[in-house]
Amino acid sequence: MYGKKVKLRFAFLGLILASVILTVFLILQSLKENVVYFQSPSEIKLLIELNKKKIRIGGMVKEQSIFINSDEVNFIITDFKNEINVVYSGAVPNLFAEGKGVVAEGFLKDKNYFTATKILAKHDENYMPPEVKEAIGDK
């Protein structure tokens, strides 16, 4: 019915379409698995069930809450309504200090304890991550 050239062109188009669909599917699938959500301590209190996925928590480091020993850093993240205890072993950025904004990435043990795998470095004393600003409500 169709010439050889047309058939070839259809096959080619089909191939392109298939690979595009495959690409989009792959990307979306992997996006679903690797996305890290950001939550404030108050949002975590509202959780009904604990998620096993990696999340980010942001807020202020509570005054007088940092305790350090040779392998761990313990501190409390607060949004002035609720707070959460964080256990962390790893590199600490220089701007990590009591009374400053912080974003920690890791896993929830329960609603009060958070095991951080990374504390995000920010480069500017005056700079506050927008997420944190929102979490503590423009204090």
Binding site: I27, L31, I68, G90
Partner: protein
């Protein structure tokens, strides 16, 4: 004070010249003379001079610490070393845009000089399209980010430059990167001009290839410099973090690399014309998008100087207008020349280059979606998410295997119709690669099969290009050098990620820390005063299991203006590995937080990127045969 005035009025004169240039060149367009009117050239030169004057006067304001200038006040300080006073000129939003403008005008002037053999109408149209971009940037600078705003009363002292930007690599990173970014504007303008003139041909390919190469070389080097800086200054101990700002520079690099390959097809076979034009438009659009995302403050990063929504909106509108204009021109004027050989035989150089382009587009879509999706979701549902490195690694690394294999075989093919030659030697090379990879990987990692296949593919490319370098005549040596550099890059990145080790601990002065491969001894600290910072220098002795010791002295700097604490990593580089130690201060505590890393083949990552761009440079200076 005076410099301020001169700088500002030169900018306005430059903008007026743009308008004048458009007028004169439109008038010249239908003139029967073969060459462009000399006035056009002189005007373009004059425009360049005005922008240079404006840029120089900003530099002078910075050198003199003239705090009546708002930009200087915000980004400089009297105690800063002269070198960083000067580099501070482009280490901020306003100054960096002025640099954009400088490169834009410089490139169009160079284009006019260098394109004398090209058709006149095409040259004038390129000039016109470029002037549209230039006018846009003039307006952007003058309306939203004037570098010469006057401050009164004049402050005594400036706010200072963010210390992490006070660094030699970062002083030259913006100019180099901009030469790459802005270089794509010439490709954009000239491809639009070529489309309107129906001049997308072999000759055009030959002529524009130089510009593609120039942009590509600078973009590659610019990205590398940023990466080197991030490696030693941020103290995260890596060279690529899939940070949105890094991605934003990688995206135009991917399209530019694709363009670099298919421009060769255009040059040889006069095929793929629409694809070349589309890539040219995309590359520049992505460069502009990068500027938009970084400058608007949508992305959080070191590069976010100030969050001013007006700037974002201006660039967004401008970008949108450019896209509409370019697509409009493309669909109205572009004619696919049917007679030409768009049907490729399945086994040929052209097909190989097309495959390269497909991979590039795939990598591009991964990076694009990973970068844009969080912004998109935030706007749609105000959910805050971030996309981490695993996303990119999972989607890109496996596809490197076929990519590397095609990259090894592609250059062996001939144009038009080819068959695979030297099958035997290829198979032998392949077997050697697999065996080598297997024996190296065997004792190292858990994911044996995957890494063996991946590293075999990389070795295969490594050996085929190496063989080509030695055996073949030097007919395509630039391409081989670049491909060889790429294989070296992949190999060093892979071994770097497999073999590197890291120890993070909190340690007090005088303490020893034992780990399974050795011992870290924190001897003492010393304090030192510099003009613009105080520093704490730590003395560490690290003993590995063979009893070999190295001394590393990382530093913590407390800058006085602005008050910022930075960590300076101490790195001992050898050909085999980098020993990297960085120390952080936890306020009000006697513990120091240290991160010690042994990074295998680190220096080879930089060397291979240099080789990659060296290939480009060689191709640029290659004599025409």
């Amino acid at each position: 004070m005076l410099a301020n005035q001169i700088g500002y009025y030169s900018l306005i004169l430059g903008l007026l010249l743009s308008v004048l240039l458009c007028g004169v060149s439109i008038k010249d367009f239908n003139n029967i003379h073969k060459q462009i009117n000399q006035n056009v050239l002189s005007l373009s030169f004059l425009q360049l001079v005005f922008v240079i004057v404006s840029f120089l006067s900003l530099i002078i304001s910075f050198i003199n610490s003239d705090f009546s200038n708002e930009t200087v006040f915000n980004n400089s300080h009297t105690t800063k070393p002269l070198f960083y006073k000067i580099s501070g000129t482009w280490g901020n939003h306003e100054g960096s845009l002025l640099l954009w403008l400088l490169v834009l005008t410089l490139f169009i002037f160079l284009f006019l000089i260098k394109s004398r053999e090209q058709p006149k109408k095409y040259r004038i149209l390129t000039l016109l399209f470029q002037q549209i971009i230039i006018i846009g940037f003039f307006l952007f600078v003058l309306m939203t980010s004037n570098p010469f705003n006057y401050l009164f009363p004049i402050p005594n002292e400036g706010l200072g430059l963010n210390p992490i930007l006070q660094d030699p690599a970062l002083a030259i990173h913006p100019p180099i990167l901009y030469l790459g970014y802005v270089g794509t504007s010439i490709i954009f303008s000239s491809s639009l001009a070529a489309v309107t003139q129906n001049y997308v041909s072999k000759q055009w390919g030959q002529h524009i290839k130089k510009w593609v190469l120039v942009s590509w070389i600078f973009l590659t080097l610019g990205i590398m410099l940023g990466s080197i800086w991030a490696y030693y200054e941020l103290g995260w101990g890596g060279f690529w973090f899939w940070d949105p700002v890094e991605n934003v520079s990688l995206m135009p690099w991917l399209t530019l690399t694709a363009l670099l390959h298919c421009i060769v097809v255009l040059e040889r076979r006069a095929a793929l014309t629409s694809w070349v034009v589309i890539l040219s438009i995309t590359t520049f659009t992505l460069s502009m998008c990068g500027t938009f995302l970084v400058r608007s403050g949508i992305l959080n990063s070191v590069h976010t100087f100030a969050n001013d929504p007006a700037r974002g909106i201006f660039i967004l509108i401008f970008l949108f207008a450019l896209i509409v204009l370019s697509l409009g021109i493309f669909f109205l004027f572009h004619k696919e020349n049917n007679k030409s050989s768009n049907n490729f035989f399945w086994l040929s150089r052209e097909t190989a280059i097309l495959i390269n382009n497909w991979f590039m587009m795939y990598f591009l879509s991964v990076v694009l979606i990973g970068t844009v999706y969080p912004i998109f979701l935030d706007v749609i549902s105000s959910e805050k998410i971030s996309v981490g490195p695993p996303f990119y690694q999972k989607l890109i690394v496996p596809f490197l295997i076929p990519f590397l294999l095609f990259m090894s075989l592609g250059p062996q093919l001939k144009w038009i119709k080819s068959k695979i030659e030297n099958k035997k030697s290829l198979i032998i090379t392949f077997i050697i690669s697999v065996m080598l990879a297997f024996f190296i990987i065997k004792n190292l990692t858990t994911n044996l099969l995957f890494y063996t296949v991946l590293i075999s593919a990389a070795f295969f490319l490594f050996f085929t290009t190496l063989k080509e370098l030695f055996i073949k005549r030097f007919d395509n040596v630039s391409q081989t050098v670049s491909h060889f550099g790429f294989s070296l890059l992949i190999l060093s990145v892979l071994f770097n990620s497999i073999l590197s080790s890291e120890i993070i601990t909190n340690i007090k002065i005088g303490e020893r820390y034992d780990y399974n491969k050795g011992e870290i001894f924190f001897k003492k600290i010393e304090e030192r005063k510099e003009s613009n910072f105080n520093s704490i220098i730590a003395f560490f002795e690290i003993k590995d299991k063979n009893g070999k010791t190295i001394e590393l002295n990382p530093e913590i700097r407390i800058y006085n203006q602005p008050v910022i604490i930075t960590s300076e990593a101490d790195i001992k580089t050898t050909l085999l590995k980098d020993n990297f130690l960085v120390m952080n201060l936890v306020k009000g505590n006697e513990y120091f937080n240290i991160r010690y890393q042994v990074k295998t083949f680190m220096v080879w990552i930089w060397i291979s990127v240099l080789l990659l761009s060296l290939g480009g440079i060689m191709s640029l200076f290659k004599r025409k045969i």
